[in-house]
Symmetry: C2
Subunit: 353 residues, 2 copies
DNA sequence: CTGAAAGCGCTAACAT
DNA sequence: ATGTTAGCGCTTTCAG
């Protein structure tokens, strides 16, 4: 079914049919109705491919997203739905290995995507710089390292970590430890900087310890290293929820009571932080807000016809969206255990996890 | 940069350039090299949009996927990567509300997608039947209700549930309870049927109880209802891991020791089942195998040029991929807690019925 | 083996 | 307000 079929069915020219579907107000109501009817009868739907060929706009946005962690699922879902609300499609590039990014770029070229969302911290600054040369609207999502290179939007990592640090001081912590994932990531260094600074200002030291990855397993394994610290910290500020959940389980397996003996905090706001076994204090990212801004930034560039570009002649925009502190039992739950102290003989809470 | 540019740069006709990129063996090695060089110099990449317009193939596959649950993330990732391995792109339709499915269908029409993966149990049989009329290659993923209507691939729910039931009997359960999510889903009824049948054959009764949803929260809330049962069951066979995890937490919050007082099993094989606090016995789905088969089924139809069709003239294919039983502490971990209990039934080592 | 030419289905001047 | 016409960049006969 093409517009030509509809045209002959409706007894008008092909151009009129096209107008009915792209600029309905440029055609008389009577003919419009006639055409609509014919189209419905024939089950005609305009061919977006042909349209794109002419208009040089595909209305498809690509997104390069890591394949790991629950957090990203929410991000992808948000992007999918928000783009759809604006009449755009999402072409997804999920990846584990480096080469997926290359593939995404290749597809972008071939399919003439209107823009690309880069939501992966694995993409290095050099690669980003290279991409910013190719006059393609780009936006980096939660990838602080991209700030200044391409337009970006991310949670305010430093400020968020500061909020957590302040909270931890408020509940009386005196010796903290920061547990990060991968030391080389900008996410880690910003969060560490924020936390260490706020703690330092309040006279609390805060060394840094890396797990080697951002996963439950890495956090779990890090428990041993945490317990080797001398002196033992009062609180562990973890740079990501997934790590924190693993760490908590690791600590409890080692017989440590969390929060009884050691407080723990996270960062991100995964759904699991609410699970009763954890009830983790963390900084919840506003994913809706973040994705919204990212799409806006992208559309701005597309409208403006610019490539991955500067705001209006300066450095690329680097937006920060604040998160919100979630206070859970992992930093305030000691009271509860104190109350339950009468039945000390009962099995320690630590093994139920 | 178009093929015309490359043609003049290389001193050949536009047609030759096109051939170099679509049927390289139909052009002399010498000219091919010349064209390649020119293309590289100009940074030319064939325009997939234009190609699609002519070839009537987009190499883009759509996927309608629920926005909930960690499980789906793995599915999406697998699809994204496996399609990419075959030179196909994934256009994602993540959804929460009904209307997203409509949007997906609309996009499929507009963009002339080569095929569509339906991975949502929310899509009813009527809607599926309606879609199967439109000569579009389709495949249903883990949606047993689609079997017989459109080609489908899913985990063997009934057999999996049977395996779990057998295991549960092996560890000495005498009164079981099946906790489902939504009674109307085919997933639920197949899993229940498999479990109830296997248990029945072994003289164990197994009533059904629905949570109303497939979420952690629903499982958590269901704990109260479970505890009201008279007599209390020995084991709860839950139809999905996410529910099971919530149920375990709910039970523990109510002071019930799992697995000390009550055994629990799940279904799906989420990453969280390995977390130390749970260590859930469950049936692990082979997601790689499932996605692989789904893509095969789709490609078969595309090659064959058929619409959502029958195998070769019969009913649509309905493939079943077996899962594997994972035995965790939630059905075998009593030993640890039962130290003060006098063990009349030492945990029988049972990795298989 | 290579070139010329005719579309794929649509948009957008331009003309009526 | 509607019709005519010329492409968008590619694939694909059909000649040479």
């Amino acid at each position: 079914m093409t517009s030509v079929d509809v045209a002959s069915e409706a007894g008008v020219s092909q151009a009129t049919v096209a107008r009915v579907f792209s600029a309905p107000d440029k055609v008389a109501p009577a003919t419009r109705a006639k055409v609509q009817a014919a189209a419905d009868r024939l089950g005609y739907v305009p061919n977006a491919i042909a349209r794109s060929l002419k208009s040089q706009r595909t209305n498809i946005i690509g997104a390069v997203v890591p394949a790991f962690g629950e957090y990203w699922q929410h991000v992808v879902t948000q992007f999918s739905q928000r783009l759809s609300d604006r009449g755009l499609q999402l072409l997804l590039f999920s990846f584990t290995e480096e080469d997926r990014v290359e593939r995404a770029v290749a597809a972008v070229d071939q399919y003439r995507l209107d823009g690309l969302i880069m939501a992966s911290a694995v993409i290095g600054p050099e690669q980003l710089a290279r991409m910013s040369d190719r006059d393609l609207p780009l936006v980096a999502f939660n990838q602080p390292a991209a700030a200044g290179i391409i337009p970006s939007v991310s949670v305010d990592n430093e400020e968020g970590a500061r909020r957590i640090a302040e909270h931890v001081v408020d509940v009386g912590v005196e010796r903290a430890l920061f547990v990060g994932g991968v030391a080389s990531t900008s996410t880690d260094s910003l969060r560490y900087r924020g936390a260490a600074q706020a703690l330092g200002e309040r006279g609390v030291a805060c060394p840094y310890l890396a797990c080697g990855a951002f996963s439950y397993e890495a956090g779990y394994k890090a428990a041993a290293a945490v317990l080797e610290r001398q002196p033992l910290p009062d609180a562990v500020i973890v740079s990501a929820d997934e790590l924190a959940l693993g760490l908590i389980d690791g600590l409890r397996t080692n017989g440590v009571d969390v929060p009884g003996e050691l407080l723990v905090t996270g960062f991100d706001g995964l759904p699991q932080v609410e699970w009763t076994g954890y009830d983790l204090t963390t900084l919840v990212q506003n994913i809706e807000g973040l994705t919204d801004r990212a799409i806006d930034l992208l559309l701005d560039q597309i409208e403006r016809g610019s490539g991955a570009g500067a705001g209006a002649g300066g450095a690329p925009v680097a937006e920060m969206v604040p998160g919100t502190l979630r206070v859970g039992a992992t930093t305030t739950g000691r009271g509860r255990d104190a109350v339950n102290h009468d039945d000390k003989d009962k099995e320690p809470r630590s093994d139920h996890g």
